[in-house]
């Protein structure tokens, strides 16, 4: 597999952390003009969706996927696990797409469309839960490392480095091979691989927030550390967390598909896109839809999450707006 997407996430922590920041060395430049009154976030969201059709479509796709995933039993035409007798041609080959089976059948005579719909459920569930878990771990570890500094920071960041250096996919595969493939394990190993990126991002943000004058001001007012973290630091992390979680869902879905493709993801006979591709692989000369349908669904899903993440980046500006004015 190629480098996972998360490897390329812009990393605020990449800035050399040892750089000296003597307040007196920062020149007393002229202040910029005050920004004009900004409309509320709700109105800005609608406005930017109206101006950006690509973002609108991607958000709609994400919403549709969520609906499909939630109402899979209601939306799917057939039971995804049922092998139809008429689902296989006389020679035992899968049936081409027709009016009965809109996307044809698989080598077991099961309806591909129904399996796709239930596959969406698996993809989203794994993507969202794994990312959520990773975010929580990442925020806690990154936040503590950034705010506490010193030895605590060194220990936590070396720990992060160790996990980061591990070949996560290989590690996941080994773990799952030993513990047995099930959805819970898939979620856990993906979360185990992904929290490090969030931890590094959160640590970088907290480090820079900690040096901001309004945090210093709160400290000199005598505000407690807990209150500073809750009121001055956490709210500024929200945009970054939203953006990187959205991108994280895309990454997690890809990893889940890869694991399932290798046969160690979501266990058979449950439907998963990656596993469908793996199964269709042998039939790609006679039944290309087995390969194309789940592949296209994967691309569209991941693309939609990536585009939504891009749009959120513009809207919330995790790196600058929250640090900016």
């Amino acid at each position: 597999m190629t480098a996972p997407l998360d490897q390329h996430l812009p990393d605020p922590a990449a800035v050399p952390s040892e750089a000296v920041s003597d307040p007196e060395l920062i020149a007393a430049g002229l202040a910029a003009e005050p920004t004009l009154t900004q409309p509320g976030l709700g109105r800005r969201t609608l406005e930017s969706l109206r101006r950006d059709p690509v973002a609108l479509i991607s958000v709609l796709v994400v919403v549709c996927l969520a609906i499909v995933a939630i109402f899979a039993p209601e939306l799917a035409p057939y039971n995804p696990l049922h092998a139809f007798p008429n689902g296989l041609a006389a020679d035992g080959a899968p049936v081409h797409p027709d009016s009965t089976f809109l996307l044809g059948t698989d080598p077991n005579g099961r309806d591909v469309l129904s399996r796709m719909i239930f596959g969406a459920r698996v993809s989203l569930l794994v993507g969202v839960v794994a990312t959520g878990l990773a975010s929580i771990i990442g925020i806690i570890i990154g936040g503590i490392a950034g705010y506490a500094g010193g030895v605590t920071e060194s220990i936590l960041m070396r720990l992060t480095d160790v996990v980061l250096s591990f070949p996560i996919l290989l590690f996941c595969i080994a773990l799952i091979a030993i513990t047995g493939p099930n959805t819970r394990n898939v979620v856990l190993v993906i979360a185990f691989g992904y929290w490090t990126y969030l931890a590094r991002i959160v640590r970088g943000l907290v480090l820079s927030l900690k040096e901001r004058e309004f945090v210093t001001a709160a400290r000199t007012l005598g505000v407690s550390h807990a209150k500073i973290l809750r009121r001055h630091i956490l709210p500024h992390l929200v945009p970054a967390i939203i953006v990187y979680s959205t991108l994280g869902v895309a990454t997690s879905i890809l990893i889940e598909a890869s694991l399932s493709y290798l046969g160690i993801g979501v266990p058979i006979p449950q439907a998963s896109w990656g596993q469908m591709i793996s199964q269709g692989q042998e039939y790609f000369q006679t039944a290309p839809w087995l390969l194309i349908a789940p592949g296209v669904a994967l691309i569209i899903t991941v693309l939609a999450f990536n585009l939504a993440g891009d749009w959120l980046t513009d809207l919330l500006d995790p790196a600058t707006a929250e640090i900016g004015r």
Partner: protein, 354 residues
Amino acid sequence: MTGEPIVDVTDLQVHFRVRRGLVGYQTVRAVDGVSFTIAAGQTLGLAGESGSGKSTVARSLVRINQPTGGSIRVGGTETARLRGQDLRAYRRRMQMVYQDPYDSLDPRMSVLEAIGEGLAVRGMARAQRRAATEDLLRRVNLPVSLTSRYPGQLSGGQRQRVSIARALAVSPEVIVCDEAVAALDVSIRAQVLNLLKDIQADAGVSYLFISHDLSTLRFMADQVAIMYVGRLVEYGTSSQVFGQPQHPYTKALVAAVPEITATGRTGRTRLTGEPPNPADPPPGCPFHPRCAVAIDICKTLRPTLRRKVGGQFAACHVAPDEAPAVSSQGATPGTPGAEPGPAIGTPSSSEVSA
């Protein structure tokens, strides 16, 4: 006007450790033996170039930086080594107004929340905070309608007033203003300076007013201290220091102030060179490489603050000392009751620097 000094800083040292090598450190003496006092209701102006340590002095007074040595007595209480609950209680007595009006207010907190945070620290119940916030806004000449605004909706001058109101929320005895007007436009700067003076007249707070702009200091300060590479080089009343500067560095600073006169730029004394790196200051008097009147001893022996002919203190081998006949009591800068003399000639500052 006089009385016990509210702030009495003696031989303040703030050193930073910079990593060198695998386990080694190098010590940077950002502040190296600074002593001064501020009388109640008065203003001490502190001037110096980048890297002189003036902001570090400010930050160690409000305990953002931990002093390495020396004492900071506020209202008679030693505060340099307070921790935990005591430190939080102390913070209320000493507040700070920051340079950058765009960074010193949390962009996600409304004016009410920002000022209310200070009131909450003082223990005020939530119900009373709105009225108290409005009072504070009135004191800094802002309309009370601003309470629900966010910093992004305020101009630089308005933000700086909100910062002042937030500082006032805890009723401090001393406010440290670190380049508090440097980022403001000239016409706004005058408004804020006037406001600070009004507040002082009303509430009797003392200021440590830090600025690189000497004309602003002359307007604001009762006493003035000039810093160069971590130490005071001149210290006296505003009229002594600006009227008859004794240290050659102060003289050059005063001469370099661009005045609004159409007299051109000729015939002024100019400093050559740049301020030294605080991590590696020159031996002897740190100013000697840039000094026009330096003599041999300046290269080896670091001068201590001594009373000079104008009545102020200066750390210079060349500037003539005060004639012994003059009573030192009469010429004490600004606060006759608080004689800073003995506190200044501390042993560490008279040692020959390595």
